[in-house]
């Protein structure tokens, strides 16, 4: 598994953790509170913040872990090679994942606009955008993983 692939997996895991945390905060309220009365803004902002921090921390942990693991297995000289810039295959896979993620996000933005036109509650618009951004990131990461495993 390449360094870029490990980073991609770490980002995907971070995204899933954040979504799980946010769902744990909001889902219990759906059955007891009207949509307009659910205070979702604060947990959503916290989730976005946690997501950013978690992505950075997980990337650092993967980098350090990869360096140690590669150093132990293949020697110190191999570490810089392992951690070097992504190559053409990584970039091609990255572009593929970004394209898929971008398409998912576009659908979410259009759906959010529709909720505004039809004057749905702010809760719906905000969550379509939030979940759309999350789904975009996850879809992109999944496509990248598949491309790494099965080829491009």
């Amino acid at each position: 598994m390449s360094y870029a692939q490990r980073i991609n997996l770490a980002m995907m895991a971070s995204g899933l953790l954040v979504l799980a945390w946010y769902a744990h905060q909001i889902l219990p309220l759906l059955s007891t509170t009207a949509l307009d009365d659910i205070a979702f803004a604060r947990p959503m902002m916290v989730a976005i913040g946690i997501g950013i921090v978690l992505s950075i921390v997980s990337a650092i942990l993967v980098s350090v872990g990869s360096a140690i693991w590669t150093g132990v297995r293949e020697g110190e000289a191999a570490v810089s090679d392992e951690m070097s810039e992504e190559d053409e295959r990584d970039k091609q896979i990255s572009r593929l994942g970004d394209a898929v993620g971008g398409n998912v996000l576009s659908v979410a933005v259009i759906a959010a606009l529709v909720t505004i036109w039809f004057e749905h509650p702010l809760f719906a618009t905000a969550h379509i955008l939030f979940l759309g951004a999350w789904a975009s990131a996850i879809a992109g990461a999944v496509v990248k993983q598949i491309a790494y495993m099965r080829g491009v």
């Binding site: 360094y3 190559d87 053409e88 295959r89 593929l96 598949i146 080829g151």
Partner: protein
């Protein structure tokens, strides 16, 4: 995405002939990751012309000694 490339290659044999050069060593010479060399060897990735030439150069052989494209079998 998952369809293997029709381009075949002799990288594995050439590595063996080149004093059992490792994938990591070839990757270092070409400037890609070891995983990319592995993917090319297994036919899961078609490299750019630049990388293809670099691989041929690493083995000091012509490009068509490393890569082959079976003409006449291109239609599905």
């Amino acid at each position: 995405m998952a369809k293997p490339t029709k381009i075949t290659n002799e990288i594995r044999r050439l590595r063996f002939d080149a004093d059992e050069m490792t994938q990591a060593e070839l990757a270092r010479r070409v400037g890609v990751t070891r995983q990319t060399i592995l993917a090319i060897e297994q036919g899961r990735y078609s490299p750019s012309l630049e990388v293809a030439f670099k691989i041929a150069h690493a083995f000091k052989v012509p490009l068509d000694t490393v890569f082959q494209y079976p003409l006449g079998e291109t239609e599905d």
